[in-house]
Symmetry: C2
Subunit: 452 residues, 2 copies
């Protein structure tokens, strides 16, 4: 028979088993942490009606979308989890209770040009809190505190959640009479890190026609840096010149105050006035999260407050706040930067149960069944291979214990348990074996997935 | 702005939050049970190269497939998890250890005509054990024991795993000289339950030209029923007439013997000689699982032993054994038959923390943070609503406890904890509150997802 060469499409992540175990552990941490904060899991279809999915329209996205016909239907694959959330809330509005808190971890699709670390199929892990008409400012502090908790649980240490408020930016540009140009100005200011302040000033003045003194004010403003209290103090100096600005400053002050009540240490967050977020629907607090040792990666977790989640589906005002982790990309970065903890267990089982000959098959099966009853992940090895091949199988998979069951063990109702890392072997009762393996498990639980 | 009517496509399951919690709990049970048996989780792309995915060809499947162009690429959505597994094993062969045991829970796509209980996007939950050239018969007993354990963990009681062996069927038809017609005969025999033995005999004789005495033997054979030892004893009567049959009988005898060592009680399985499974690649043991009180639903979990997983990708012989739960359909059936346990918790949190006024916001945040530190799922309610609205929010979501934090509570460092089901309220210390809620959690852990 002619063979088809097996291959996986470029831009689609497919992990080997050990890596996949790491990924699963990270996902499990996300699910557990999101649940701790009272978010309910949601699952929406990957395929949606293209008209529904693209109701908002929008240039870049539409070009990248996977869209196709099936029969008479015009279909598209979701490109984020926000539009499906908007659809979900608008569609099931009457059956939901607000504030509606959901998390969703799912694959999304964008037909980008494949390149290193960029994927066409990738996981997003989103949390959002949606209010019915109103939403308290405390939620805007809770969201980054969840991200702090999530990243800490993974083992990450050197990260920073950067916070800003769109009202402060909008109010500031209002003060300068630059409201109409604010999008262009912000896009220019965004290049600060890459091109430096002088080049930014030149573009503002020469290309955008901003008066020189106003351009100077813009550069002074985005140069405000320091710890939270210093930045807030500097911002107080602008108070009274714009209602919008003042409201933004009140919100930012409240958010930073609550953050510490939420247990987020000062060094894990910073007010950063250069953060604006591209999406035009953010209206209040905005977030970005950077790995301090890898600034080149950019933000690994972003989001913010919006006033109108589902305006293209419903007249109901649905304000919300949310944040999204680009999980596939984050995993790629952690792996690429050697930050995945090599000590984190990746084996499919804690113990490999090996009958020494066909005569012990029944005994081995019943011991394996009892181990599983104790919650111990157990693999049974019944293949007729050489002893060495069996041990090498366990070693290759990183299974920490091998259990040998021969005629003597069966007669005495005991088991020979070998710690494959230490090379030590003991003959013990079932209960003793369980105790040893559970001790190992307790140690492993302390090992974080990621090296921070 | 003109509104787009939000909708979800027909044939795509989208659950409300409480149902989704049930589904998540079921998935978590599957992941945990599969892991206990030493299966490693796998995740493969939903989109594959159409040439790769359809390498095997095949009529029915190809018609139902979602296939489309993106740029120059001919793409298709996976329609099961078996073909992606074959691709994965062939592609990564050199980096895998065999026997390779993987589980995968993921969405697959078939453009079937949507009808009640049939989905175009649905989850499959698969386990497979792949050998490199050989695979021990014990694996064919382990697979149904995992299904027994999984269903039992869910709470299901009245189900039966039915087992047969293709070699027994093939050997039997060989004895009768009906090998060339065996596919047609088996297809006819499959209709037994629907049309009765006389109609089956008529088709065999009139349409397929089977001699009357042989048709009688076929009907006698598939009428063999009873407990395992009775069926095996009846089958022994055919021994010595076909090597293939004898091998199949040896295998079936071994499988049924091991099943009890694996802890599967006699009443949970049966040998059923009418089971053949449609797919032509099964070569040994085959399985179907039926809900005893809902035979009309058909098999909710099927699979079997195959000799050649990836013959269209590689020359390497890769025998295996696997089974698949059609999870979305199973969930639909459980819901439709009112078998989802209404006592199973569906709330997004164990406790709703409510500051009585804005002054207690900080206290409420720090109490919520401490509760989460104790592993208690906690939702913070900071909206400025009437007291009644806050309580009704908790009740609607099924959150079992509300915690009220007023000025008095803050001063004394205590909390008022209300059991919303019983209507009882107590004022307690933080540790006491944690104790009460953890007591509730321990009770909830005993509650199965499903009513068996």
């Amino acid at each position: 028979m002619a063979k088809q060469k097996p291959r996986t499409l470029a831009g689609f992540m497919e992990l080997l088993p050990a890596q996949q175990q790491q990924m699963e552990r990270i996902m499990e941490t996300l699910r557990r942490t999101y649940s701790l904060y009272g978010f309910t899991p949601l699952d929406t279809p990957i395929i949606e009606d293209a008209q529904v999915l693209l109701a908002k329209g929008g240039g870049e996205t539409e070009k990248q979308i996977y869209r196709f016909q099936k029969g008479d239907s015009d279909l598209a694959l979701r490109f984020d989890l926000t539009v499906p959330l908007a659809k979900y809330v608008a569609l099931h509005y009457g059956q939901l209770s607000f504030p509606f808190r959901r998390y969703q971890i799912g694959k999304v699709y964008r037909g980008e040009r494949p390149q290193k670390g960029r994927y066409r199929e990738f996981y997003q892990a989103d949390i959002d809190i949606i209010g019915d008409g109103k939403l308290d400012i405390a939620n805007e502090a809770e969201i980054p505190s969840i991200i702090y908790q999530t990243f800490s649980q993974l083992g990450l240490k050197r990260f920073q959640i950067r916070v800003n408020n769109r009202k402060i930016l909008n109010g500031f540009y209002e003060m300068l009479g630059l409201t109409d140009q604010s999008q262009d100005v912000m896009r220019t200011v965004d290049k600060l890190d890459k091109i430096g302040p002088d080049a930014v000033r030149d573009i503002l003045v020469d290309d955008l026609g901003v008066a020189a003194d106003k351009a100077g004010e813009v550069l002074d403003f985005i140069a405000i840096k320091g710890d939270t209290s210093a930045v807030l103090a500097a911002l107080e100096g602008y108070r009274g010149r714009s209602q919008v600005f003042d409201q933004g400053l009140d919100e930012l002050t409240a958010v930073t105050k609550y953050l510490s009540a939420f247990g987020v240490p000062e060094e894990a967050f910073a007010v950063d006035l250069t953060i604006a977020r591209g999406l035009d629907y953010y209206t209040g607090t905005v977030y970005e999260t950077t790995l301090l040792d890898h600034p080149e990666v950019g933000s690994v977790c972003s989001g913010g407050r919006y006033d109108n989640l589902a305006g293209y589906y419903t007249d109901k005002p649905l304000p919300g706040v949310g944040i999204s982790i680009g999980l596939t990309r984050l995993f790629y970065v952690l792996d690429d930067q050697k930050m995945l903890n090599p000590a984190s267990p990746t084996a499919p089982a804690e113990v490999l149960v090996i009958p020494m000959s066909a005569g012990q098959q029944g005994y081995a099966i019943s011991v394996a069944t009892r181990l599983r009853g104790q919650g111990i992940r157990t693999q049974l090895y019944t293949e007729q291979k050489k002893f060495k091949a069996k041990i090498s199988y366990a070693a290759k998979l990183g299974i920490p214990y091998a259990m040998f069951l021969g005629e003597d063990e069966e007669k005495a109702g005991v088991m020979s348990l070998k710690d494959l890392a230490k090379g030590e072997q003991v003959t013990v009762s079932f209960d003793e074996a369980v105790g040893i393996i559970k001790g190992y498990l307790a140690e492993m639980e302390q090992i974080p997935s990621v090296l921070g």
